[in-house]
Each structure stands twice: as C-alpha cells, then as structure tokens.
Amino acid sequence: MDNFPKPRVRKQRPARTVADSTAVKKLKLLVTVVNKNKAEFFTDLLESFEINMQMVTRAHGTAGSEMLHYMGLEESEKTVIFSLIREDQAAAALAALDEKFRTVRGGKGIAYTVPISGVIGAAIYQFLSNQPTHGKGDHAQ
C-alpha cells in the first residue's frame, strides 16, 4: 500500500474578503458629543482614523440629575462632532474614543455611528472614504 503515491491536496486559498483594496467600503456617520472645551482634542483624535470631513457644532446637553435640574444647572455646553468615517475604521475609532472618555479628565462623552445609505459622486466618495482613485471620471455609484 505504501507504494501508492499520496494524493495531492491543493492548499485552499483564503476567501476574498471585503478588505480587498478594490471593494467599495460603506460609510458611517460618527456622532461624538463631548464637552465644549474638548472639541479640538477629539477632532484631532478622529482625524487619525482617515476621516477627511468633520462638522463641529455647539450644543446644549440636557442630561442631569434631579438636583441639578432644580438648581437650574442641568444644561451644559457641549460640542457635537459629525464625522464621516469608513466602515472598517469605525470600530477602531469608537474603541479609541471609549478609552479617551474613560481616561481624559473632563473628556467624558458619548459616541455612536449611524449607517449611511447613499452618496453621490465618485470623487466625493473617494474623498469621504480617503481611498485613492480607482476609476476614471466622476460618476455616481
């Protein structure tokens, strides 16, 4: 029996995943609500996750204890950061934000992502997703 040649088993290649460079990656809207004086710190942090466009706006927070409510101190000045982030960067960005929310003094906040269902213009998509040009022209996708 030992004389029979062993059957050749082909090594299976790993399946192609969404991480392939040519695949279109979805975008998400990342909303970060932090104290007013921490806006720049968090926008700088988020820029390291390949975010090219962020919108920062002033806002008031309304969460507070009953005691603060009766003392009229319930509202506090906040900054809301709307960032457009690529899907594959969202988890890492949220993890980094979570770490900063816990460790930075006065840096407590909340952050969440909302899926984006569409975007018009290839150039716009490439800009928002920070991906180099693959195709030609400026066509809607």
Partner: protein
C-alpha cells in the same frame, strides 16, 4: 438587521426643546443634545398646510434604546407635534454601535 439603539431627531420651534425632553424622559430617555437651527420650509407649504413657519428651530438629538423608541416618538407627536405650538417633527435613525452611555434606566410601565 436589529439595532440596540436609535437616534431620535426632533426639530421644534425655538424654546420647545425642554418640552421635547420632558416628553422623552417620561418614557425612559436619559438625556439629549440641543442644537440651534434655522428652518427653510417653502412659502407654498405655509399656505397649503395653513401653518406659519417660524425659522428659528431647535434640533434635539436623543439616543434611546430601540425598545422605547416608539413610545417616545408617539409622546413627541402628542406633546410637540405639528398641531401644537412646538410644531415639531420627529424621526429616528438606526445606530449600529454606541459608547459612553451610562447604565440603562429602569423600565417604566407603558400606559
């Protein structure tokens, strides 16, 4: 796809954000974020729907567990809806992941 949280956006006339939060808190919302905004509805809409549009608006963003979303939307419709002085509209968007939230509030009995 099932989402744990929803982002409720309620746009009301300026000065009604407290009424929005009062209605939302009644059904378990913890807190919200109020952004000043300006409405741009068309003049024709004012005549068709017989309403006057006050350009100064407040946009209230509330992050809530999905389970209480409907209750809050209904409460907002009743207390600050288009037929009230608040003239508010409210809608919700799915949230796929959220961080920084404090523990869930105790569940309130739905009337």
């Amino acid at each position: 796809m099932k989402f744990d949280h929803e982002m409720i956006v309620c746009i009301v006339n300026a000065g009604f954000s407290e009424a929005v939060m009062d209605a939302a808190k009644e059904f378990g919302a913890r807190g919200g974020t109020v952004i000043s905004a300006r409405g741009t509805a068309a003049k024709e809409a004012e005549t068709i729907f017989k309403i006057t549009i006050q350009p100064e608006k407040e946009m209230v963003i509330i992050l809530v567990p999905s389970a209480i979303r409907n209750d809050i939307l209904h409460a907002l419709y009743r207390s600050v809806g288009l037929k009230t002085p608040g003239q508010g509209i409210a809608f919700s968007l799915p949230v796929d992941s959220a961080i920084g939230l404090t523990q869930e509030p105790p569940k309130k009995d739905v009337k």
